[in-house]
């Protein structure tokens, strides 16, 4: 049996006010992507975007999104993503942009990347900590960064993404 090949785009939703992130949901992101693809690439893009496209995972806390595109047209669809300027969710227009961090062939590679990426982010945060308590917490978090142990709330995204079976 031939595997249906897909590409997973790991994107970060950047907003000015992080509290707005909590308003996001899968459907809002999917609608935003679909409409921007239809705007940039027209009916043809919209047609491509209706086959096997889905928002695989969204972490409303960290603003991390996994998008799945068919492998043969992901470049075309990806090229429309920078044109997202806002996401309409729960009746509210959230100005934001998507920053693509990684493109992978499976969810697992994306997840591995995300762990590494988050570790880096924590390292960057470390010097900025105000008191010892915070510093300790960040250190602990860094040490806990691994795929086998997912217990920290910070890495909630990983646990959830592993539930998606790979196709």
């Amino acid at each position: 049996m031939v595997r249906v090949k897909s590409r997973y785009l790991l994107c970060e939703v950047n907003v000015s006010d992080r509290s707005l992130l909590l308003l996001l949901d899968d459907r809002a992101i999917a609608a935003a992507v679909k409409s921007v693809v239809a705007r940039i690439h027209g009916d043809y893009g919209a047609a491509l975007c209706s086959i096997r496209f889905s928002v695989k995972y969204l972490n409303a806390h960290t603003g991390i999104v996994f998008l799945r595109f068919p492998k043969r047209c992901y470049k075309l669809l990806w090229s429309a993503l920078p044109f997202i300027t806002s996401v309409e969710s729960r009746g509210q227009n959230i100005p934001c942009f998507l920053n693509c961090l990684h493109v992978g062939g499976t969810i697992r590679t994306c997840q591995k990347f995300l762990v590494r990426y988050n570790t880096q982010q924590l390292h960057r945060m470390l010097p900025k900590c105000k008191n010892e308590e915070e510093r300790q917490e960040v250190r602990k978090a860094i040490l806990n960064c691994s795929l086998t142990r997912q217990n920290k709330e910070t890495f909630q995204d990983e646990t959830e993404s592993e539930e998606d079976e790979e196709e």
Binding site: H41, G42, D43
Partner: protein, 129 residues
């Protein structure tokens, strides 16, 4: 994509084989409208084609460069030039254009070639009786 077959400078003989190197493709198209009396200027035709590109390929498609080399208002026949990479897009958007200002229309693509000269000598147009 440029392959030099052989070069012989001494005898003044030079041969170059250019494969798929044509930068443009040329199309000879004819617009058929339901109401034959409708007048359409060259600018309107180009605008119309751009709308077609925009619906099928969005803003990216609308930005595709093509030239209206020649247009005959009476027969609504036009010569278009498009960069080779955009040929399929332009052609398919012409094919899928079905309405001009709420009246049915169709683009009949008469000939397509990577050489403009080829459009002047199509033996399929030979009429002997």
């Amino acid at each position: 994509m440029r392959g030099d077959d052989k070069k012989d400078k001494s005898a003044g003989y030079q041969r170059v084989v250019l494969k798929n190197a044509s930068p443009y493709h040329y199309m000879k198209v004819c617009l058929v409208l339901e109401d034959e009396s409708t007048k359409l200027s060259a600018v309107e035709l180009k605008q119309f084609i751009i709308t077609g590109l925009k619906t099928l390929y969005g803003e990216v498609g609308a930005a595709l460069n093509f030239d209206l080399l020649k247009y005959d208002e009476d027969t609504r026949t036009a010569f278009l030039r498009v960069c080779s990479r955009g040929l399929v897009k332009l052609w398919s958007s012409l094919t899928l254009l079905g309405f001009y200002q709420n009246q049915a229309c169709a683009f009949r693509v008469l000939q397509v070639s990577p050489f403009l000269l080829a459009l002047t000598g199509n033996s399929r147009e030979l009429q002997l009786d």
